[in-house]
């Protein structure tokens, strides 16, 4: 099983966003791997290992499209346990979802993985488009917002569960396929790969990169490419005009009684 995991670096979502002249000011940003992509890496690692024996069975290739210093985020995925990395050079401003998807298609064509596993969205732009676009460009089956993945038919298919309004939906996809993951993919028993005993319970959440993993990651291969190498060209079709903060919410009020609440709702908020 070979899995391609595209990852994006994003400004640390825990830190406050600064806006200057209608643009995000990222000069002091601390960059991290997009949360959902980190979950995708974790899921890919779980799909390609025997967790009880601590052995690998398969290959996880991480790819990012971004500036030079995005290499740190690739290293961080290698440190978690991914086998190999591909770094396609590009400035963030020259990209949009479609260009990213086209570039990933070119990488897919070279790598021919059994599965492409991505985060359902990046927590900076929150567009939630790349996985779907990529599946369309590749003409591959897709399952989005995966909460669990089970390999089936000797690795020729996978069964993906997705949480939908009415309950849980199960989809069986022949491989290769494109799967995007949601938060629950990193819960203790969300991945079944036929190798790790089903009794195995993972710790909740993505694994930490161990110091050994970090030191080993130094020696793992990282391929540097340009979009031209991959035969991709074009400019973004989406343009950012202005970034503004949502209006600050007014302070809340504490009411003494239900009567007062009803009165305020009808007279002040005009909600009743």
């Amino acid at each position: 099983m070979k899995i391609l995991v595209p990852v994006k670096r994003v400004p640390d979502p825990e830190l406050k966003a600064n806006i200057k002249d209608g643009k995000l000011d990222l000069s002091g940003a601390q960059w991290v791997v997009n949360t959902f992509d980190e979950y995708a890496v974790e899921a890919a690692l779980r799909l390609t290992e025997n967790a009880d024996e601590g052995s690998r069975d398969g290959e996880v290739v991480v790819v990012t499209i971004g500036p030079d210093d995005a290499a740190v985020q690739l290293r961080s995925c290698l440190a978690m346990g991914a086998d190999r990395a591909i770094h396609v050079a590009s400035e963030d401003a020259n990209l949009d979802s479609l260009l990213v998807a086209k570039t990933l298609k070119a990488v897919y064509d070279e790598e021919k993985p059994d599965m492409v596993l991505l985060g359902k969205q990046a927590v900076d732009g929150d567009t939630n488009q790349v996985g779907q676009m990529l599946a369309a460009l590749l003409n591959l089956p897709q399952a989005t917002f995966a909460a669990s993945i089970e390999l089936a038919d000797d690795g020729k298919a996978c069964v993906v569960s997705r949480e939908v309004d009415a309950g849980v939906e199960f989809k069986k996809l022949p491989l290769p396929a494109v799967v995007t993951v949601d938060l629950r993919i990193v819960s203790p028993t969300s991945i079944t790969n036929g190798i790790t005993p089903e009794s195995h319970e993972y710790a909740d959440g993505p694994r930490y990169a161990s110091l050994k993993g970090i030191m080993k990651a130094k020696k793992k291969p990282m391929d540097n490419k340009t979009m031209a190498d991959l035969g991709v060209s074009g400019s973004p079709v989406v343009k950012e005009l202005e970034v503004t903060l949502p209006e600050a919410r007014a302070a809340g009020q504490i009411v003494e009684s239900v009567e007062e609440l009803v009165k305020k709702l009808s007279e002040e908020a005009k909600a009743l």
């Binding site: 991290v32 290293r75 961080s76 959440g205 990169a209 161990s210 110091l211």
Partner: protein
């Protein structure tokens, strides 16, 4: 001159930070009250490689260097200074045995520490009458058939009751001064080894500090670390590195105190505006941040020198005395900024203040650091 961390150091920082914030910080206040020793957390830290940051790979270490160790200590101490001291001493012991132990000793003890099979390692130098002046120790090691018998008491030994391996210093020759001191590796639970009492401490309550009694504890010939009479030199070498650890611990606590204070000063309003708008408070924060930065530079430079294999004893002492004193000032001002809230357990400041205080005492008091620095200066001047 490059002040940035390299990629590996940055990733190590992230691992330490994420673990500390997710797994340590939420329960630090509870451990401070209960005194519970965090066995599961320490094992998890070992699995991540944080018990052998600067230890050779062959013995389960990460071989990531002293700078990485400093960064790890800072991040852990931001969340829980008690866990940090256990990690610091264990790393120091693992590094000491890696540097001076025989192949057998390394295989036997270092791997246990780095893997978490032993929950921690301890460093037993101080005695009731021998603190700043460890050469005044009375514990003896007497040659017997096949090995040595240790007799005496060790005082204030961090987690000496939990350690899988303890480095114990003892006199092998009472008439040879510091050259009569040797170091031995004693396993936790060895017959004749007893925990005599546990201290009730002002801070670091999530870590134990105990008096150990050695009543004719037998160790084999192969338990001596280094050669006979070399013990004092080993202790001083270990403490040079240890001081970078303690300095980093103080840095972490101070950084946490500053972070909390900044947030509080932005939110707390008096006289119609956030208190950070009152210049007296803003100036405090400016001073705290400046002291913190200066301390960080001193500490990280000492770590960098150690990584470059440049003698760093004076710089480690400078880093320790400066950082630990500034860290105490920072934590004190942090309480001031928080007013009455700072004095209560609803906020972490009073814990920070209690925890950070010991950094001016252990692994050589501030007064002793100044002696070390001054001696170096005199030596340099006479060259």
């Amino acid at each position: 001159m490059d002040f940035s961390l390299n990629d590996e150091q940055e990733l190590i920082r992230q691992t330490a930070r994420d673990f500390a914030q997710r797994e340590l910080a939420p329960k630090a206040a509870a451990r401070d009250l209960s005194g519970e020793f965090p066995v599961a957390e320490l094992k998890a830290l070992a699995e991540l490689g944080l018990m052998g940051v600067n230890v050779p790979e062959a013995f389960g270490g990460a071989e990531a260097g002293a700078m990485a160790f400093s960064v790890v200590m800072q991040e852990l101490a931001k969340a829980d200074a008690s866990v940090a001291v256990t990690v610091s001493v264990t790393n120091m012991v693992a590094e000491l045995i890696s540097a001076f132990g025989t192949e057998e000793q390394k295989k036997k003890h270092v791997s246990k520490l780095t893997s978490g099979e032993a929950v921690c390692g301890a460093f037993a130098l101080s005695e009731p009458q021998a603190g700043s002046d460890p050469a005044a120790m009375k514990t003896t090691a007497t040659k017997v058939d096949g090995g040595w018998k240790l007799k005496g008491n060790k005082q204030w030994i961090s987690h000496g009751d939990k350690a899988g391996v303890i480095v114990v210093w003892a006199l092998t020759n009472k008439d040879a001064g510091t050259r009569g001191i040797s170091a031995f590796l004693v396993e936790g639970g060895a017959p004749g080894l007893a925990v005599i009492s546990a201290e009730h401490k002002m801070g670091l309550r999530g870590s134990t500090t105990v008096q150990l009694g050695f009543d004719d504890v037998f160790v084999g010939e192969d338990a001596m670390l280094g050669t006979e009479g070399m013990g004092f030199r080993l202790a001083m070498a270990a403490l040079d590195g240890g001081r970078i650890g303690i300095s980093s611990q103080a840095l972490g606590v101070a950084a946490a105190a500053l972070e909390v204070s900044l947030a509080y000063a932005n939110e707390r309003e008096q006289f119609g505006q956030p208190i950070i708008r009152h210049q007296a408070i803003a100036n405090k924060l400016a001073d705290m941040a400046t002291k913190l930065e200066a301390s960080k530079l001193l500490t990280e430079r000492a770590a960098w020198m150690k990584d470059q294999k440049i003698p760093f004893s004076k710089e480690a002492s400078m880093a320790k005395v400066f950082t630990t004193e500034k860290a105490c000032e920072i934590c004190d001002e942090a309480i001031q900024i928080h007013g009455g809230n700072g004095y209560t357990q609803d906020f972490p400041l009073e814990r920070f203040y209690r925890d950070v205080r010991v950094t001016r005492i252990y692994e050589g008091t501030s007064e002793i650091q100044r002696i070390v620095i001054a001696r170096q200066l005199i030596k340099e001047a006479s060259n």
